[in-house]
Amino acid sequence: MLSRVADSLYWMSRYLERAENTARQLDVTMSLMLDTGGVSVASRWEHLVAALGKPTGLVRVEDSDQMTHNMVFDPLNPASIIYCLNGARENARQAREEISTEQWQRLNRLYHQIHSPNAQSQFEISVSDTLASVLDGIHLFQGVGGSTMIHGQGWQFIRLGRHLERAYATATLLEASVPDLASAQDRANSAYQYLDLVGILRGCTAFEAYCQVYTADVVPDQILEFLLLNHDFPHSIRYSVDNIRYAIEAIQRHGGRRAPELAAGVGKLHAMIEYSSIREILTGDAAAFLHTIREQCLRIHEHIYRNYVQYSIQSALTV
């Protein structure tokens, strides 16, 4: 596959995952702001910005309604839904031959939906409906992709992009939430605290899944364990890292260049999660652990670039 096309598929997927993450975090933040138990609106926004990794270009404005609007419709805010969907469509256009017509039409529809004047009026009536329809659109795209696209190299680049973005986003969210989790440990079990903790889970669509594993007994340590180390939940970091590994293996199986540094980078991240217990993580510095995960993700991204997209001609000729 052409490197440019692989790159476009990878970024299309990352942008969609990013849009999904923003939509979910924003939805959780909006609903937490309804309960004004001790936490100010301003600090809710601070937390959201931190949970999205404080991207440059995300401007914090005082007016809460304006801020909400910006998170959805500001085309200059790199975390906004519209920015991410624009990015996804532009990349899909570059890789139009690789994705199926059904995928393209789904994505196109989502793109036109967010750009239509109707989106603005729907937003005025109900922010959460707007966010829900964005999430629906993204899920439909993923479902259609799974069942209509050939699962070759291109598909693996999509998978790689999605899970790298997701692992990074989940680690970012958890890192930003470590202080909350710690303070929840000390505080008496209050209803407000419960809402906050559930918010973290809902930000990863993990509440119901968590309940299945741990019952509705919401405990900070278990939340961290679930979102970091669960084997089977698609939004846990371990699950994403496993998928990154499989995707890279599959890319090489489909003829992709051998990439020892990339394999080493992924192996390192995998080992770090595979051989850590939640006890160790909690007795050590959990925030630092999560931060390391983020750094490893960035390094893997660089290796993907160096091996598949922008490799030097010399390195390719000697192989």
């Binding site: 596959m1 052409l2 490197s3 031959e97 260049r257 598949y308 490799y311 001609i313 390719a316 000729l317």
Partner: protein, 486 residues
């Protein structure tokens, strides 16, 4: 069957003027030409809303397939659906036979001409064509001198524009020898027409065109450099903002070849590679849809980011075939065009089967005087332009516009030619539930690899605006499916 359709016929032809222009459907006395009989009967037998329903379903099909082109000069990247008329344009087997022979003769002569010009230039030494005409052409590429191209094929893909004049004869209006486009519309039109009029289509016995991508692929393969039995063939596109991007993706998909942009290519030791996730992969044949100027910043325009540095040297070294070759625009220069009949005589010793349109060269003193006096009757064209840009249609232009052109001609006569305003043929188009005649041309697609091949038909372009003579898609033209009958 005889009596009943007349009422419906009256509705269909409610306001269908016939004048001096050749009408594709009816002769001068208004009688249907024989091939159109069945079509007219079918139309007349359908309820009016049925036609509309089919039209809507056809439109929808274009829309969802994303068959669009980009109009320049408006907002950045305005995408439009290519307007499409539902009624097929019919061409009889005998007419087609003549067109096919004429175009084969023409492309053969044009390739011999390019071979000659870029090697010994005998035709200039023999004073059949004035040298200064060639060397002053902006599409002449001195870099091509002395370069041997595979099978001596410079133009592998051509899309000549034909018109039918009052006498029913086809003439060649221009040869598009650089990067002719539109073939994807020919193919998608056919696909939609088969769905829209299945019975009619099968009752007519229409010659198939669907194998065009396969023929194109075979043509490209035939031109691969020697010693590359399994050539890697790619289509080079300028990218998503090009007006014909849809066509590039379409053809690449239909041929099963990679669609590449300049930035996907790298050259090393005069070999072209494309950058893939599997490593560098050698490229053997490039079907080029990027203009000469933008293909290689080291040789042509240095400010171009669309091409690939080093491409031309790899080409010169014979390690890659790039087709059409560079510098083919020389032979479709509108002033050089005037000499094509003489080329045919010179190289093939034959008379042209398809005549040219009478053309005045404004670099000639006598022609220029005549043209400047008769600007209101003539069409003036800039020699190096295409797509209907840089053109004056005298009878339809304002006095001011004509004066502007007169000044431009005096300033740079070599840059213009003039032709009589042609009364070319019209074909019926569907507007609401009525038929109205509109001017049409015909662009068949000619392939030249190991031999000349032309799929029967081509793209019939329609000037959809009433009375308009401009059929270019960039200027509001549309298209029709073209049925060559068995």
């Amino acid at each position: 069957m005889n009596a009943s359709p007349t009422v419906a016929f009256d509705t269909l032809f409610g306001d269908y003027p016939l004048d001096s222009a050749y009408d594709e459907m009816r002769d001068a006395s208004g009688v249907l030409r024989p091939p159109y009989q069945a079509l007219a009967e079918t139309l007349a037998s359908l309820p009016a809303d049925e036609l509309q329903r089919r039209k809507q379903s056809a439109d929808l099909s274009f829309l969802t397939q994303g068959i669009t082109f980009t109009v320049y000069g408006r907002e950045e990247g305005t995408e439009r659906i290519f307007p499409y008329d539902m009624l097929p344009r019919l061409i009889t087997a005998a007419e087609w036979n003549r067109i096919e022979r004429g175009l084969t003769q023409r492309i053969t002569a044009l390739n011999l001409f390019l071979r000659d010009i870029y090697s010994d230039a005998k035709i200039l030494a023999d004073r059949v064509i004035p040298s200064e005409l060639i060397y002053s052409c902006k599409h002449y590429r001195r870099q091509m001198r002395g370069l041997v191209v595979p099978r001596n094929v410079y133009v592998a893909v051509a899309g000549s524009d034909l018109l039918r004049l009052n006498n029913g004869e086809f003439v060649v209006l221009e040869d598009n020898l650089r990067v002719p486009s539109g073939v994807s519309y020919m193919l998608t039109n056919r696909r939609v027409m088969k769905r829209t009029f299945p019975q009619l289509f099968s009752s007519y016995g229409v010659k198939p065109i669907e194998h065009y991508p396969q023929l194109l692929l075979a043509t490209l393969r035939a031109l691969a450099p020697e010693g590359r039995p399994e050539p890697n063939i790619v289509l080079l596109t300028p990218g998503v903002f090009n007006s014909a991007y849809f066509e590039h993706t379409f053809l690449a998909r239909q041929m099963g070849i990679e669609l590449v942009e300049g930035r996907d290519l790298v050259t090393h030791d005069n070999i072209v590679y494309m950058r893939t996730t599997d490593g560098l992969k050698r490229v053997d044949v490039i079907y080029r849809r990027v203009d000469d100027d933008f293909s290689d910043p080291l040789v042509f325009r240095a400010d171009s980011a669309l091409g690939c540095a080093g491409l031309f040297n790899a080409y010169r070294a014979g390690n890659v075939t790039i087709t059409n070759a560079f510098g083919t625009g020389l032979a479709d220069d509108k002033a050089v065009y005037a000499y094509v009949p003489r080329m045919i005589k010179y190289y093939l010793d034959e008379d042209p089967i398809l005549p040219n349109v009478e053309t005045y060269l404004l670099s000639e003193e006598k022609d220029r005087r005549h043209v400047l006096q008769n600007l209101d009757k003539l069409v003036v064209k800039a020699v190096g332009e295409s797509g209907g840009y840089g053109m004056l249609i005298g009878p339809h232009a304002s006095k001011q516009k004509r004066d502007e052109f007169a000044d431009a001609i005096r300033a740079n006569p070599r840059n213009y030619i003039a032709q009589p305003t042609l009364d070319f043929s019209r074909a019926p188009c569907l507007f609401g539930d009525r038929l109205e005649p509109r001017h049409v041309d015909l662009r068949p697609y000619v392939l030249y690899g190991d031999k000349v091949q032309i799929v029967p038909g081509g793209l019939t372009r329609v000037a959809l605006e009433k009375g308009s003579l401009v059929v270019n898609s960039s200027q509001g033209g549309g298209s029709k499916d073209t049925w060559v009958l068995e």
